[in-house]
C-alpha cells in the first residue's frame, strides 16, 4: 500500500465513522457538528477524486451553509423545548431505518450494476470545449452543455427562500428577517467583520472570476459573499433589509431572469433555447454568471437570515 492509498483509506474510514457518529449522536447540536465535519471530510474525498469544483461546493454548502442552517434549527428546537411525548416512537424509528436502508441498498445496487466503463459524455464535452471560450470544463458543462439544469437550480433556490418567508405571520410579511443582532461595536466580532469583510469580498469575486478557467464559479463565489454579508449583519454593523424592498426582489430575480432572457434570445435567433451565438458565447455567459453570483449571494444570505420577525419600520 502506497502512502497515498493509506491516506485515502484513512479518509474513507473517517468519513464512515463520522457518518455513524452523526446519526448516533444524542444531542442535536452534536449531530450538527458531526455533519459539518462530515461535509469537510467529503470535500477532501472530492479533492482526492480530482474534482476540486465539487470539493469547493461541498465545503461551502455541505459544510458551511447547511451547518449554520442546522445549528440555527437545533438552537430553536432547544429553545422550544421538545418533550419526551414528541419524540418519535419505536415503530416510526424502525420505519425510518427500513426506508434509509432500502434507499442505500438501491443506490449501492445501481452503482454496482453500472457497465464498465460507465457511460459518459465527458469526451464529447471535452471535444467541444473550445466553442464557449471557457477553460474550465466544469463551468463549460454548467453554463453551456447543461445550462438548463443550472438555471432551474437557481429557481429552486428562490422557491426555498419563498418557503422560508412563508413561515412569517401575515402582519410581518415583507418585514426584516431574524432578530436584530447587537454586538459590542468595539468587540472582537465587530473587529473581525470590519477586517475580514473587505478581504472576503475580494476573495469571493476572485473565486467567481477564476471559475472561467480554474476551479471556482458563481456558486462558490456567491457563498463567500453571502458569508461576508452575514458576518457584517451578525456583528450588528448593518441590519437585514426588509424582504419586501423592491431592489432586493430585483436582485433575487436577476440571475434566473438574465438566464431566461438569454435563453429565449437563443430561441428567437432560430437555434434553440439557451443556445448561445458562437461569437457572443463568452460575454453572454459572463453576464449570466455576474447576475447569478449576485442572486446566489443575496438568496443564501437571506436564507440564513431566516423568517421575517420584525416589521419593516423597525
Amino acid at each position: 500500500m502506497t502512502p497515498l492509498q493509506a491516506l485515502d483509506a484513512g479518509v474513507v474510514a473517517l468519513v464512515l465513522a463520522v457518518a455513524v457518529w452523526t446519526i448516533a449522536a444524542r444531542e442535536a447540536v452534536a449531530a450538527v457538528v458531526g455533519f459539518v465535519v462530515y461535509g469537510l471530510l467529503l470535500a477532501l474525498v472530492w479533492l482526492r477524486l480530482g474534482a476540486p469544483d465539487v470539493a469547493l461546493t461541498e465545503a461551502a454548502i455541505g459544510g458551511g451553509l447547511s451547518g449554520v442552517l442546522l445549528l440555527g434549527a437545533a438552537g430553536r428546537l432547544r429553545a422550544a423545548g421538545t418533550t419526551a411525548g414528541q419524540e418519535p416512537g419505536i415503530v416510526l424509528r424502525l420505519v425510518a431505518v427500513a426506508l434509509s436502508v432500502t434507499v442505500a441498498a438501491g443506490i449501492a445496487a445501481s452503482v454496482m450494476r453500472l457497465p464498465d466503463p460507465a457511460p459518459t459524455l465527458a469526451p464529447a464535452a471535452a471535444a467541444n470545449a473550445a466553442a464557449t471560450g471557457l477553460g474550465n470544463p466544469v463551468t463549460n458543462v454548467l453554463m453551456a452543455f447543461r445550462a438548463m439544469d443550472t438555471m432551474l437550480e437557481k429557481v429552486v433556490l428562490l422557491l426555498a427562500l419563498v418557503g422560508v418567508w412563508s413561515l412569517a405571520p401575515d402582519r410581518l410579511w415583507g418585514g426584516r428577517p431574524g432578530p436584530r443582532h447587537r454586538a459590542d461595536p468595539q468587540g472582537a466580532l465587530a473587529f473581525l467583520a470590519r477586517l475580514l469583510a473587505p478581504v472576503g469580498i475580494v476573495v469571493g469575486v476572485y473565486i467567481f472570476w477564476v471559475g472561467a478557467d480554474h476551479p471556482g464559479g458563481a456558486f462558490q463565489g456567491g457563498t463567500i459573499l453571502a458569508a461576508m454579508w452575514l458576518l457584517v449583519m451578525m456583528a450588528g454593523l448593518t441590519d437585514a433589509p426588509p424582504v419586501g424592498r423592491r431592489w432586493l426582489r430585483l436582485v433575487l430575480l436577476s440571475g434566473p431572469a438574465v438566464f431566461l432572457v438569454v435563453g429565449l434570445g437563443g430561441l428567437g435567433l432560430g437555434a434553440a433555447f439557451l443556445a448561445y451565438p458562437a461569437a457572443w458565447a463568452k460575454p453572454l455567459i459572463l453576464a449570466i454568471e455576474i447576475a447569478m453570483t449576485l442572486t446566489i449571494a443575496v438568496t443564501l444570505g437571506l436564507l440564513m437570515a431566516g423568517v421575517p420577525e420584525r416589521s419593516a419600520r423597525e
Binding site: 472582537a188 475580514l196 478581504v199
Partner: protein, 95 residues
C-alpha cells in the same frame, strides 16, 4: 540549494504536524473550555504557520507563495476571533 529547501520543508512541516498532534491531544485531554482553547489555538497558529513555512519553497510562483501566506494570516485572524468569542461565551455560562 535544492537540498536546503528540502530540509526546510521536511523539518518545518514535521514540526507543524507535531504542533497539530499536540494541540489535538490537548483538546481531548485538557479539563475545561479555556485550556482546551489554548491547546487548539496553538495548533492553528503555530502548526499551520510552520506547515506554510515548509511549503513556501514548493510554491510554483511568488503569487502562489503569497496565497499560502494569506491563508495563514486569515486562519490567524479567524482563530483568534473565534477563540475570543467562545471564551467569552464560556465565561458568561460559568458566571
Amino acid at each position: 540549494m535544492n537540498l536546503a529547501a528540502d530540509v526546510l520543508t521536511i523539518t518545518a512541516v514535521s514540526a507543524g504536524a507535531f504542533f497539530f498532534l499536540a494541540g489535538t491531544v490537548g483538546l481531548l485531554r485538557f479539563p475545561d473550555t479555556l485550556t482546551r482553547l489554548h491547546a487548539l489555538t496553538k495548533a492553528d497558529t503555530l502548526g499551520l504557520g510552520l506547515v506554510v513555512l515548509g511549503l513556501l519553497p514548493r510554491a510554483p510562483s511568488p503569487t502562489g507563495a503569497l496565497k499560502l501566506v494569506s491563508i495563514w494570516l486569515l486562519v490567524l485572524l479567524a482563530g483568534a476571533t473565534v477563540s475570543q468569542l467562545i471564551a467569552r461565551a464560556a465565561r458568561r455560562e460559568a458566571a
